[in-house]
Symmetry: none
Subunit: 196 residues, 4 copies
DNA sequence: CACTAATCGAGACGGTACGTCTAGTCTTTAA
DNA sequence: TTAAAGACTAGACGTACCGTCTCGATTAGTG
């Protein structure tokens, strides 16, 4: 395909990078509440309309900033389902047991749940781990290691939901023992007899 | 002890009721984003300082409004653990599968997590169901119906966390089947052989 | 006990004295702009309704405070009209060439010009010197020292008006030379030949 | 001179005009006490920050409104000093013997006396007449009509001070006779023998 | 090479809401 | 009985951002 070759001055890629950098810095230094379009414009040296040309509001900008430095799906390397799942859960919890974890929750709560941008954010930041877990379970079932006798969607929510529950509610800490505890209970539900 | 008998004019209980009423109405009609102190003052016919005398900001006011009409702990009537827990989960999900549920999640995410007010809100609105579930499980264990072989805190988070997970992330709906699915999987973890 | 702790109904005078003391202190320490009923109530330990029972607003309170510590009419001792008038003008200017002078001007400008309280304030604080000057001039005319060939009211305004003019406008300073200059010019208008 | 050519969106001249118009209308209709930034914003259809971008507070806004419709210096046409000065004084008194006169006094009293804005207001609204009078006197002295034997600054204050004195204190009315009386007495001080 | 279209920075605009302060009124309790 | 303490309705204060809009400057293509 031929590039469209638009007439005017092309968008400045550097400007977007500076915007995301500034947004990210503000998030880590001052928190979600200080992430205003005004502050990002001032810090990045970019005009406000330039920001609004790419993101509709501060929430989308926050999501973009949180996505920009995101390693993505956490692959849990391991031979058995237990070790793979436990590895993934530990990575996940380690990644979220920081200020960034709570910022993600706040951003998600503040965002318009119907927006396309929000959906992309959910899929990449929140649900990617859940999808990776689904893959692990399906592979284990395929090689006969487990039997999926219950609703898989519910099971996935019971594995990954508690992480965000503790993040949002804050009644108990996110730590390695929590990761292992979830895996242990979850495996009960897939009749992983051989693993007991 | 004699009542404290404070010196000046006592707080007007009616004013507080009107404030909470107005806040509740705005929440249900316009949503969390429209719940501003200004709007509540205008709607309730109360001065802004009167609101600030009782609540530090709009978040606390939202929490107070959400708590004010709250039925509290959801008792799950039933003879067996399964029926009791399933009853409670159905009630819980029914109560949260509305606009109010998402508002609770948004409010919690926006609130200062260290504030005393936030902690009270968490205990009354979020964790009361979890505590009720803990009671159900401990009673069932006491009468020998189940064996608590795993970490009870983790198990409770796996039962109640998924509700808020779906509420916050919105990837799947909150319905009766979800309630039953959670109970079914949770009971696997307490070795409820007799119930199978 | 050093503070005389009265039993029963406290004396009315004490409360008023405390109010005026507090108002005066606020005027000298923080200026006219900070003299609010709220601040006086807080500082004097008196309830706001008690203040409103005696003064209609902060302006009246300011006037009362400014009158309370007022030495009143400035008598200009001296044998001749020139020396008597010059003595009075020097005293007047010395009394007003302070922060208090400007506060009096501000208070007068802010007050309701029709109020009875304002009229009393004008008579006691502003016009008393003018009346003293009138007496000096009439006495000098009676003993043949001068001839009042022009409108006495206008002449009096030309003697005392400039003081408040400089006070309000602030374009030049209030000093001894100013007092003497006014007297010198004023005496031209009364044909004080013998004094030239 | 090259115009500076500033970068951003230029200030909306129309908005400033509307602000001053609204401020002026409020001053004449409701008085100085009702001239709040809030009311001006509501009446002019302009945002509050736009007002604060140009004026620091309601006092400055009042001064700007009073200056905006100001005819400026009152030239007293006439062949002799007496007729010229009497003409100017009559114009001056006519201009100030209205509600606007008292508003000017109140505004000046309420304003920060050190502010640059206040100084400009004083020079344009209060002292311009005094400067015009100084010019008249110096011209008359130059053509030998009078002899300036006393301090000119004091004399000017004795001519223009009484106007503001009566305005502020309100003990007597501002009228034509007052203007003439001031001129008559003032001319005594400049040895205007030929004019007697 | 001039023209032209698009984007950039800057920043003022009309607004909304903030949280604070003060006004003046009203209601209890204490002296 | 009166004054204190203090909560009330009311509303202006000055600030922070919002999201929109107009500018002049900059930067490519296109003609």
């Amino acid at each position: 395909m031929s590039p469209p070759k638009r007439r005017g001055r092309p968008p400045n890629q550097l400007a977007q990078a500076r915007i995301l950098k500034a947004a990210h810095d503000i998030l880590t230094e001052d928190g979600f509440g200080r992430l205003t379009v005004e502050a990002v414009a001032a810090r990045s040296g970019v005009g406000k309309p330039t920001i609004y040309r790419h993101w509709a509001n501060a929430s989308e900008l926050a999501m973009a900033a949180l996505m920009s430095g995101d390693p993505g799906i956490f692959a849990g390397g391991g031979t058995s389902l237990r070790s793979a799942l436990a590895g993934q859960m530990r990575s996940l919890i380690q990644a979220f047991a920081t200020t960034r974890g709570r910022q993600i929750a706040m951003t998600l709560a503040a965002a318009d749940p119907e927006s396309e941008f929000t959906k992309a954010f959910r899929n990449q930041v929140i649900l990617s781990s859940r999808e990776a877990g689904r893959a692990l379970l399906l592979e284990a079932a395929a090689r006969g290691e487990i039997t999926l006798q219950h609703d898989l969607e519910v099971l996935l929510d019971m594995i990954y939901g508690p992480v965000f529950y503790r993040l949002l509610v804050g009644h108990r800490s996110l730590d390695t023992g929590f990761a292992d505890g979830i895996v242990a209970i979850a495996l009960e539900a897939v009749a992983a007899r051989a693993d007991r």
